[in-house]
């Protein structure tokens, strides 16, 4: 800098200006720095990342295809896994035991008995049922046992289908419903909320009444009623249609929350002096909205969105559990849990609620992630 053009007073101030690099960091970088300090939220993010990888590679990771029926293994229990070899020594190679079916004389039902003496080695990278990852078809599985036996790590359902495979595949639906839904929510909520807050007046009044009416219904019953109005899966109305309409229904209620919060934000930005400064500079409405308001609201939108995803996942799960959401043959965690609606069934086959683990971990992950984001975005939180 050229000292001679600056009066001593002005130069003195310049000398004391901060020299650290923190000033170069944008708000996003600062948020990320704060977020990274939050171990719980970081943990949530890592777990979610793993979960998404797992469900994407569901076909490869599970020993069987999710829709392969095995009438010999109806309600079959999870196969136990041991690392103790036939020689009685602990090794690296996992084994499972052979299962035999015995007719129970009292109940006239087939009971499964584990034959602790017959060890079956678990093999890796075996060929088995064909599956698809996106458009890529394959039959290579991470693990399995030699045919005709099949490995059921999480047991089987009423048609002898592999619960583990079904849970992973079900995750593909359950874990994306929230994301697609949230994308719609962000779109609707941002556009309507910004308009409402920026223009005020009659637009705002109308929007507020609409939101009020939507919020006057309890969510799950309203979702259920709307979902009940969807036609059943047919030739003209595929599973994919249903899936997308379910996400639309979920976001139909959810956008109201985001719109309200965004409206409040935009209204406060309207009062902020940086908006006034832009107006005085002659900036257009579009510039004020897109350069000044939305970037400031963006972090807020992300937080609201992250905190709304759990609700959507739980919503889909509940709807499908009630039979109003995702319907067979498509699987989702809620649809899988529908099999355990009869308590008497679950008490006998408790592995039927294992898909619930997926729900809990995912929702927990999004909750701590959202919470951590909120703390990171709010500069006043310590």
């Amino acid at each position: 800098m050229t000292e001679e053009t600056i009066t001593p007073v002005r130069a003195a101030v310049a000398a004391a200006e901060p020299t650290s690099d923190v000033g170069e960091l944008s708000q996003w970088q600062l948020i990320w720095l704060r977020f990274r300090r939050n171990k719980l939220a970081m943990g949530g993010m890592v777990i979610l990342a793993i979960m998404y990888l797992v469900v994407i590679f569901a076909g490869f990771l599970s020993p069987n295809a999710h829709d392969t029926q095995n009438l010999d293994y109806i309600y079959g229990p999870p196969d136990p896994i041991t690392f103790v070899g036939p020689d009685g020594k602990l090794g690296l190679r996992p084994y499972t035991f052979a299962t035999t079916t015995v007719l129970n004389q009292a109940t006239f039902k087939w009971d499964f008995e584990i034959d602790r003496n017959t060890r079956i080695p678990i093999q890796f990278f075996v060929r088995g049922d064909t599956y698809k990852i996106l458009w890529w078809q394959n039959d290579l599985h991470l693990m399995g046992i030699a045919p005709p036996d099949r490995l059921y790590v999480w047991g089987a359902d009423s048609l002898g289908r592999d619960m583990f495979a079904r849970t992973l595949v079900g995750g593909q639906v359950s874990m994306t419903v929230g994301l697609v839904g949230i994308a719609l929510t962000i779109f609707l909520g941002s556009v309507l909320g910004t308009m409402s807050g920026f223009y005020g007046g009659a637009i705002d009044d109308a929007m507020q009444r609409v939101i009020e009416v939507i919020q006057s219904f309890p969510t799950i019953p309203l979702w259920a009623a709307l979902a009940a109005a969807l036609p059943n899966v047919s030739e003209n109305f595929t599973m994919l249609h249903r899936y997308f309409l379910i996400t639309v229904i979920l976001s139909l209620v959810n956008w109201t929350g985001l719109a309200r919060q965004l409206r409040a934000k935009v209204m406060s930005y309207r009062q902020a002096d940086f908006t006034s400064a832009a107006l005085v500079a002659g900036a257009s409405n579009a510039r004020i909205i897109f350069v000044h308001m939305l970037p400031n609201a963006a972090s807020h939108i992300i937080v609201v969105a992250a905190l709304a995803i759990p609700g959507m996942i739980l919503g889909e799960t509940s709807l499908s559990f009630l039979g109003l959401g995702i319907q067979p043959p498509m699987v989702s965690w809620g649809a899988l849990l529908r099999d355990s609606q009869q308590v008497s069934t679950v008490v006998q086959h408790p592995w039927l609620i294992l898909p619930g683990i997926g729900v809990v971990i995912t929702v927990l992950g999004f909750s701590v992630l959202g919470d951590g984001l909120r703390d990171a975005v709010d500069p006043y939180s310590i």
Binding site: E17, V22, A283
Partner: protein, 347 residues
Amino acid sequence: MSPEQPQDGLLLEVADLKTHFPIRKGLFRKVVGHVRAVDGVSFTLRKGDTLGLVGESGCGKTTTGRTIVRLLDPTAGTMRFNDPTAGWVDLGSMTRKELAPIRQNIQMIFQDPFSSLNPRLTVKSIVAEPLIVNHVARGEELNDIVAGLLKVVGMRPEYMSRYPHAFSGGQRQRLGIARALALNPKLIICDEPVSALDVSIQAQVLNLLEDLQSDFDLTYLFIAHDLSVVEHITNRMAVMYVGKLVELAATEELYYSPLHPYTEALMAAVPIADPRIRERPIRLPGEVANPANPPSGCYFHPRCRYAKDVCAKEEPILRELAPGHWVSCHLAEQLTLRGVVSGSGQS
């Protein structure tokens, strides 16, 4: 109805300016009344002047400033501005589009150095905004202009890529000043530019404003509540009470020989930084009048210790009692009011 006739050397002529805000109530948001934030303000501003606008919170001084830059729309009155290219224009009646070229000559500095800078933008984007919006410059040229502006306000151009959070209040205020200077304006509305700053930083910014005024031939409308700051930086001053101007005069005259009882009370209230001068303040009974429901006659009469019957009945008009000294009080000729006590202090 302007106190002075338009003449050469004038930059701004505000006449009978009113800015009212509707009060809405009920299911259908019916307008049930108005907050008369600014209720008939008239003054003129000569080129190169610094006119101070003082008064207590809620008196309408900030609203006046914001109406002049058209952040708010006036309810009535005219604001004639002598634009260097367009000539005399009425700011109040222009559309946003018409206003755009005029705006470049009227800029504003804001009170809060934190909320006036968008935290998501870099220093460069903040200072460059007026240039970008008005298509003045782009690319390398824009960079050079911003660097120059930063130097002018005593900041390093290297800080262009930094974000506002890296700067202290005083430095942020310098950035705000740089932004206001970007379009080379004629008039700057300074809305309490130093009241959020620490005492030692206040002096830096005040000196900067003074330097810039002489360097760039600026005219200031300086809105503030700190009377010692205003006395220091202005050469003319206007006192507002409940949306109206009560007195307008050269700064020194207003401080030492006020003609309005409210000005007198205001001056007597300033704590003087000299322990050897301790005076008792003039007590003002009651509270400041409600601008939605002001009293009859002179708005100040319920609190005025000199009030007579006429004050409750008739609204006084702003009149020129001595050359350049305007006052709005029925009794101005009869009263002998005390001004600020002259102190010596150290130095």
